[in-house]
Amino acid sequence: MTSFRLIAAAGQLPQDFFQNRAHKTCIQEQGTVCPGWALDHIGEWVTPTLQHIVLVAVPVACGFVVAFGMALLAHRRRWLVAPFLGVSDVLFTIPSFALFYILLPLTGLGRTTAIIALTAYTLVILFRNTYSGLSNVPEEVKDAGRGMGLTERQLLWRVELPLAVPEIIGGLRIATVSTVALATLAVFINGGGLGVKVYPDISFLTGVLTTGIILLALAFVLDVALVIAQRLATPWLRVAQSR
C-alpha cells in the first residue's frame, strides 16, 4: 500500500527527472550519493534556501516583537504572568506541524499559514526566556538603580533589559535553530522552503543529504551570528570571563 503511494508520488515527477540526474561520474540510483551532481546543480537550492530564510526570519522576528511586548507587560503587571504562561504551555504542546492544518480553514494553504504557525512556536520560547531574563535580574541591582533615582522606565531600559540580554538571546538562539528545522515541514502546506528539496522526492538521497547539510549549515550560521550579537551587546560579560 505504501510502496503504491511512493510510486504514485514518483508518478508526479517531471518527465526529465531521471535524465536530469545522470552525472558523468555517478549514475543516479536509489541509495547512491553523488556529491559531484549536487555541486553541479547547487543552483536548484538557491530559491528554496531563500524561501527558507524567510520562513525562519519572519516568524522569529514577529515572535520576538510580540513576545517582547508580552514579557514587558507581564513584567509590569504580575497577574498576567500566570495566564500568559498557561497559554504558552498549551501552544508549546501543539506541534507546529499540527497547527499548520488547524490554521488551514482560517488562512488556507501557503506560506502565510506556515509563518503564523511557526510564529506561535517561537513566541512561546521567546516569551519564556525574555520574561525569565527580566525576572532574574537581582533585586539588589534594581534596588540600587531605584536608590539612585532611576524611574521605572529608565530602570527597565538601562538596567533590567541589558542584564536580561543573555537570556533573551539564548531564547532567540533556541527559537531560530528549531525553526530552521521545523520550517522544512512547510512543504506539506505548500509553504515552500528547503522542504521542497526533500518531499516528495524523498528517496533521492543526494538531494536529501544536500538539503540536510544546507539546513545544518544555516542553523549553525544563524546561531553563530546570534552568539556574536550577544557578545557585542554584553561587553561586561567578556571582561568578567577573561578575568
Binding site: 505504501t2 492544518y101 494553504l109 545544518l216
Partner: protein, 241 residues
Amino acid sequence: MIDPHLPLSFLGLFGHAINFILHGQEAETGGIHVGGPEKMAELALTQLKVTGLAMGLGLAIAFPAGVLLGHYGRGELLAVGIGNVGRALPELVIIAIAATTIGVGLLSVTLALTILAVPPILTNTFVAMRQVDRGVVDAARGMGMTPLEQIARVELPLGVPTIMGGIRTATINVVATATIAPLAGVLTLGDLIISRGANGDAGLVAAGICVALLALILEGLLAVLQRLLTSPGMKLARATA
C-alpha cells in the same frame, strides 16, 4: 484540489473536519470511504505505537548515559552539545534518510524518531544530575552512600522536574514527527496529509486536530506522572526559593 468554499467559511471546513473524524466521507477521488472513527483510531494508535517504541529506545539509550555522565561530571561538552545539535536536526530529512537507507517500515521510522528523542533526554538528564545542590551531594557522600545509592536516593529524585522536562520535549517532538511516518511506510495520522488527493482538505484539518489532541493528551499524562514523582518537599523548596 483547492477547496472551492475555503475563503467563504472556515467554520464550514472545521465542520467538515469534525465530520471527517466522526463519520468519514467518500474519497475525493471517488469510490472508497475515507476517515471515520475506526480509521482515525487505527492511525492514531499506530502513531502512538511508533512514538512509544522510539521513546522507549531513546530512554534506554539516553537516560543511563545522561545519569552516568552527569553523576561523574564527565562529557559535559558531549551531553550539552548533543542537545544543541538535536534542535537543529530537520525531522523531514532524518525520516527521508532512514527510509532510503534502511528501507520503508517500522524499523526505519523507529530509528529516525529515536534520533530525535535522544538529545533532549540526554541533555536534560545530564543537567538534572549536575544541578543538584553541591552541599546535598557532599552530605550524601559523606554519610556513606555508595555511588548507586547517591544516584537512586538523591540525584534522581531531585532531578525529576528537569529529567521529565526533557522527556516531555522529546515526546512532543517525536509524536509530532511521527505524523510524517507514512513517508517511510508506517501509516499514522499523517497518511491523511500525504495522500491529500483522496482525503481532501477536511482530512488535512482532521489530521491537524488529531495530532494536536494526541500531543496534548501525552503532555497531560506526563505532567501528572511528573507531579506524582516529585516530592512535596521540592515543591515547597521551589515555592520559598
